[in-house]
Structures are given as C-alpha cells and as structure tokens.
Symmetry: C2
Subunit: 469 residues, 2 copies
C-alpha cells in the first residue's frame, strides 16, 4: 500500500466510521451470534496473494459487524461505558501513523514528555493531590487498564513491605492485602500474579451503603499481625463496580498509616467525576494515598486503552521494575534528567497514548468534559427518581454517579427475567450484580450518544418486562 | 465533534499520515531535543474551552514532531524495527472506531473469534506445532508485548510447579528459572513480578555463537535440585536481542522434559522469519515447548502492539488467571463453549487487535509478508559481506536474520565514537550491545521503507566515522 493508496483507503475507513457513528443506534446492541458463527464465515487458510482493500473493508460489514456488541450504542447500559469520541479516535490514529515506541525517553522524547504533561493536567483538572504531579516526587503514567495499574501498585507495596527482598528472593507467603468484598476482580488477580497468594487477600466487610467498614479493616489487620503476617497494602475503591460505593478513604488512610500499609485507591470508573467541583468531595482523604488510578477510557471521552495511574513517590516504581540491559543503555537515561516509562509499567514497549488524551482535552476543553459527566449524572438521577416513585421497584444502593442499581421487588427470578427480556430486545443492554444476596440490575449511563429518551425507553422496557412475566 | 466533523477531521488526519509516510526519510532519525524541551512548548494548564481541530492538528507539526524519533524512517537501524503498514494502521483505526471491549466472548464475539482464527492462521503460516492451534488443547492470543506473554508463561509455570499452591498461598522462594546470559530483560522483570525473585533466575552460559549451552543448563538445574530448589521453567530464545543467537531448542527441551520444567520460547523478533520455508529450521524442537511468543509488531508489518502468544494447554492459563466475579457472569462463559481472553492475559480489558493483523495478512497475502522478510534478510547478508571484506571491521556474531553485529577492530572507544557520529548525522540511528566483553554495533534492518541504498549509505557513514577519529 503506497502512501497514495493509503490516503484513499484511509478516507474510506474514516467514512466507514463516520457512518457507523451515525447509525450505531440502529444495530441490536448485544450481538446475537452463537459460538463459532463468526469463525464459520472466515476462510480456513490465509490468502497466499494480497486482496484489494475494498474486499477487506467490505468484510467488516459482512463478517464482523454481526458479531459486534455495540459499546458505542446509545442503548449500551452494561458494565461501565467504554467512552470514545472523534478526537480520541484520531489521536489513536495519528499515534499508529507515527509508529513510535515510548519505552525510553530517548526512543521518542515527545511521547514521554507529552504523557507527563497531560497527566499533570489531569491532576489539576480533577483536583488530585499535588504529590501525584511530576512537579513533586510523584507523577502519572498511562497504563492499558486499572488492572495493570493495581498490579504495579501491589508490586511496589510488596517491595516496600519487604525492603526490596521479595524482588530479590521471592514473594514469600506472609504478606497480606486488604480490600472490601466489593473490591474489583483485578485485585484478586493481582495478588495472585504478584505472588501474595489469593488466601492472603482479605475481603473486608462493607457497611449498609456497600462501602468498606474501616473498623473491620483495622480488626483484620490487627488479627493478621497477631498471627505473624505482615499487612502490606490496602486497596480502597471510589465507585465500586457492583454499585459505585465509595470507601471512606480518609478513615482507611488513617488505619493504613497506623499500620504501615501502602494505600492504593481504585477509582477506575468514578474518578472522572472529580472534574466537577461539586463532586470533588469523593477524593476526601486521597492526599494520604500512595497511589491512585482512574480510567479516562471509562468516562472521559477517550477510547480504550487509557488508564491514568498516579504515584506519590516514583522511586518505588523504579526500584521495583527497573532493569538495565546493555542494549537499552543511553545517555539521557544515565543523566537521570528524564523519565523512562518502561520502569513504571509491566511491559517494556509502549504506544504513544498521551496523544489521544491531549486531543480529547483540547478538543472538548475541561468545560466540555464536565458537561458530558454532568449530563450522565443528571440522567442517572432522573432514572433513580422514576424507580423510587414506582411501587414495584426499589433502588438497591446509593447512586452518586451515573450507575443506578435497581431491583423489582418480586425477587431474583423476576429480575433475571427482566434482564433477559431487555437484552433480547436488541434496543438496550444491561448487566447485573448481587447486592446483599439479591440479584440486582445495573444501569450504567455514560455512553456519549445516550440521551434521556434512551434512558426513558429502557425504563419502559424494564417495566414492561416485569409485567409480562 | 459530530460524525460529519469527524469525517472532515479524519480525512485531514489520514492526509497527514500519508504525507508523513512520504517524507519520513527527510527528518533527522533521532530526535535532537534536550530533556524538558517539548514540555516547555506546552501550556501549563489545560484549555477551559475546546479548541478547533485545525489548531490541534497543527501542533502535531509544531510541538510533537521535533520530539519524535522516527521509527518508520528508512534510516532506522536501532533496537529491532517497529514495523507498521497502511493496512495495520487502518485496522487499528477501525478498532478504535468500533470501540468495543473484548474481555469476554460475550462482550463482542467477533473480537474473540477473529483473534482465535487469525492466530490459527499464524500457526499455519509459520509452520508452528499444531498443538499451539485452537484445534488442539492449546491456542493463541494477542498480548501487548512479549514481556507480558513471558510473564504469563512464567505464571503458568509457577502454578504447574506448585500444583496451584503459589496462586493460593504465595509464590514462596524455592522455584528457579533459567535463561541464557542473553535472555531478554523482560525475563528478569517477569521473575520479579511473579514473585520468583531475581536471585532465583539463573543466567546460563552461552557457547561461542552466543546461544545457550544446554549442558550448562542441565548442570545448573542439577545443582539447584541438589540444594533443594524446585526448577520450574526455562526460557529459551530464538533470536536474542543482543545478536539474534538461536538457543538449541531441541536439546533444551530434552533437559526441560527430563527435569519437569516448563519450556517457554521467546522468538519476539525472529519468529516472523518462520514464514519463509527456508528459515523454518529455526523452530526445530518447538513441538516440545509449552509456550511460544513472537511479535508481528516487530517484523510482520503490523504496528505495535501485537504480540502473538501461543500455549500448548490453555487450561494452564485459565487455571492461573481466571477470576469470576458476579458482574462478569454470563451464559456463554458458563456454557464452556467460548474463549474468554481475559483469562489468557494480565489485564481484564482488551482492544480488538486481531483486526489489524487480519488486515495485514489479507492485504499483503502470505506471499507479500514473505517478500518483506526475505528482503530484510538479503540486505543484512549484503551488509555482512561488506563488513567481512573490510580489513578494519569484523562480524561479531552469526547473522541468520536481519540483524548484523559488527565491530571496528580498534576497540571500544572507536566503536563508541562511530555510534555517536552515525547517530549525530541525523540520517541513521543504530544502537549497541556488548558481546564477549566488547562494545558492538547493532544494525537492525527491517523497517519497510529501508532499501539497500539506505544500508549502503549507513555502511559508508560507519567507515567514514572510523577514519575521522
């Protein structure tokens, strides 16, 4: 493909996406294919000779689209939204076009410096503690996901707790980690990967609002200390995946500090809400955390992957993850004057992801991002009002953000039936959780295309499904 | 940005890339900025109000390009090439445009099924053992990098060696891992992350051709067993980063099998060469490996990130990495009829990366990919011939692929001076390694734009720099 052929093929690809943006609401939100159906449409062998671009692009419609669950649909209310936007897509495109590796400052200084700079912007935009900016001993870095960020936080915590001995001699089996019973599954995965062991993770009880009980946390720590364990880290959550519960960060920080634990705060979804001055209270106590992560790819109009990870003392990351082989040695690194982000993450290689975040912030402005977040929250509050006003339904948990957890009062079977009916309609997609033992419907609002009309249509569908049983 | 505004902005972005493709050879390959120089051009605060697209795109030229090291330049001979191509860039673009999450089969069946299918194509294209295809108990998955794949392999090895106990009770400190002294730094990083501990990694001696000595490997294993350690895994390399040495896989497999070790084979760069029937010998013995990784993003015309990881028994990955929270439960997963790739990798979320690999294979055809690889190897052999014919220079290691390691006979200081002079010229970028204690220049050929004229110009520059001292 010559540059001129690329120009032509690229315009066609852009047109395809522009058309998709306009029509995404017309597809069934949830793909209806059966296992194996997409593979059956694909030739068993790769082509020996290259095919024309038109044939490749045509198969996107023919082969791929039927197997797509449309995360950008206005009817997508499942999991948490996967935000995207034109400027983000084009930032990713230009990053692909440049095709640079950002593993070291020297391998493309702009990739590193723009990332540091834009993550400092996030500190300012969200009112994060100054210690998380590169102006201090800390700083921010883009990871692919909060899973990876939490893993890195737990690795740094492991090393702090063992004075670097785990890195040298192995993880041992006496370190314990704490999170609430609603801590994300990535924490369970990270304690396994980092060699703590699943049985060293304590799932602390929650209060009636589903947030971590700091007294129960301290009791668990004291009990472990008494048994000879070394409590190493606590992962608190701002906006749990189940119900967007907010753990009491200030009280947890006090406990963590008293017992010498690393405090990592996971605000993967909800962290974006801190762009709103009226929501900034969610960060109370964060100034005492050691690390923090939130995902612009969930609610800040930036497509996956873009997870913003902040650390109060970058030396912990570098001590834990830096390896210096001869073939990566260079003057800039040895000068100590630059950041090499490979030492802040699991892999060595890295894409130029700061570009899309920069494009999003510049194209929308902070004001535009605030408007998007505020709109999502307003729609959720409106839905919650409708649910509360309905005699057969109940709100299952506090809803400070744009997720509403709700239940029909008829019990699990009715709620499961509602979920299946809604998802079979093709017009909306919702998922579920279990709160206090009860099957609960989750309505996550935040896809940029969703309007209050889509939310109202969903609510009507939920009510209709309840009655139809 | 409305769909129509996106269409217009997108055409401009595509045009920018097409122009960049045409002019990439005119930029200084290695960015010349000083630390902090790019940040100094950026406003300290994010814009409150959104800016027009034209202003954003213009800053790509004004602010970013001076800080770019041009990995797509025909003069880029550093590290290993970061391959890219038009179809790959457009595959990534359309993946961004669809904006789907592929963490579960159910969250977009096409993303999972295309990935499984295209990785089976790679098995066939490269003549990989059938056990690595999804038609067997194994299968392939796309990771961001070989670092992550190697980490996952070492986690699965850890669990196999401890019968799942490390996952439960912690990694312990008695497991050992083996690689050659030229094993990649990602192996050192992975043994730390996975809790083996850096001191449990044995760097096995190499033979004169820089490949792992299988006798030394067995001696190390026997010595560790005698001391009460449990040897868990060996990482062999096809094409080391230093010099593309090829470890003797068949002999290593025999040792691994006799002592019950997991054999992971890292062919990050060189694996693509197996598309050539005449190079297929590099895979001798691979049928006895437990896992294998190579990076289409290094030499298969696919832009980063696209690392192809294969495992002989997928149950090991799932046993090691699967966590099943309520909010991810779904019928397809519970049916057991589908692959959920979140259980094959570190993070939960994942992009639709199979699209770009599919586009590349279809657009170039296997024949087109073979031609690219063959061309790179031919150019390297031609360069090696020139070096051999020169009285003042020597070849420092075997060069079966497209990396040539060479040295001026004048010693380290001369070679360092050559490297600096070449890189200061702006016309080429090379890096170095140390082999047998001597500073060695690495010339990695494989950027799609590189022609024999660029290689000749580099060789002239190297000779001139030697004389100029």
């Amino acid at each position: 493909m010559t540059p001129e052929e690329f120009r032509q093929a690229g315009h066609a690809a852009i047109d395809w996406i522009a058309d998709y943006m306009k029509t995404v609401g017309e597809f069934p939100v949830l793909s209806k294919v059966e296992p194996g159906e997409i593979r059956d449409r694909l030739p068993s062998s790769p082509p020996e000779v290259g095919e024309p671009w038109e044939a490749v692009l045509a198969d996107l419609d023919e082969v791929i689209l039927p197997g797509i669950t449309h995360w950008q649909s206005p009817g997508f209310f499942a999991y948490f939204p996967a935000n995207s936007s034109g400027p983000a897509v084009l930032g990713d495109l230009l990053s692909s076009g440049l095709g640079v590796q950002g593993m070291l400052w020297a391998t493309s200084p702009a990739a590193t410096e723009l990332e540091t700079h834009v993550l400092d912007w996030l500190v300012d935009m969200c009112g994060l503690p100054e210690k998380f900016s590169s102006r201090s001993a800390g700083g921010g870095v883009i990871h692919d996901s909060a899973s990876s960020a939490t893993l890195v936080a737990l690795l740094a915590a492991r090393e702090r707790a063992t004075h670097g001995q785990a890195n040298r001699h192995g993880a041992g089996g006496d370190l314990t980690v704490y999170t609430s019973v609603h801590g994300h599954s990535s924490i369970d995965k990270a304690v396994r990967i980092a060699g703590y062991g699943a049985e060293r993770l304590r799932h602390v009880a929650v209060r009636p609002d589903q947030s971590m009980d700091p007294d129960a946390l301290e009791e668990a720590i004291i009990a472990d200390e008494a048994e000879g364990f070394t409590p190493a880290a606590v992962v608190a959550t701002i906006g749990t995946t189940s119900s967007t519960a907010i753990d009491p960060i200030a009280e947890i920080a006090e406990v963590a500090s008293n017992h010498g634990l690393w405090l990592h705060v996971d605000a993967a979804y909800a962290g974006t809400a801190a762009v709103l001055p009226e929501m900034r209270w969610i960060l109370d106590g964060l100034d005492r955390a050691d690390s923090y992560v939130f995902n612009p790819h969930k609610w800040m109009l930036t497509n996956f992957d873009c997870s913003a990870f902040f650390v109060a003392d970058r030396a912990h990351l570098i001590d834990t993850l830096s390896i210096q082989p001869e073939y990566l040695r260079n003057k800039a690194t040895e000068s100590g004057a630059v950041i090499d982000y490979r030492d802040w993450q699991i892999p060595l290689g890295r894409r130029f992801r700061a570009l899309k975040l920069w494009f999003v912030i510049r194209s929308f402005g902070v004001e535009g991002i605030r408007a998007h977040v505020r709109r999502s929250i307003d729609m959720a509050q409106e839905l919650a009002g409708w649910v509360e006003a309905h005699p057969d339904f109940e709100i299952a948990a506090p809803h400070p953000f744009s997720l509403v957890c709700l239940r029909h009062r008829g019990g699990d079977a009715v709620n499961k039936r509602i979920l299946e009916a809604v998802n079979a309609s093709g017009e909306a997609f919702i998922t579920h959780t279990v709160l206090d033992g009860a099957y609960t419907l989750r309505v996550a609002i935040g896809a940029p295309t969703t309007t209050i009309d889509h939310v109202r249509a969903l609510w009507e569908k939920i009510q209709a499904a309840a009655t139809a049983g």
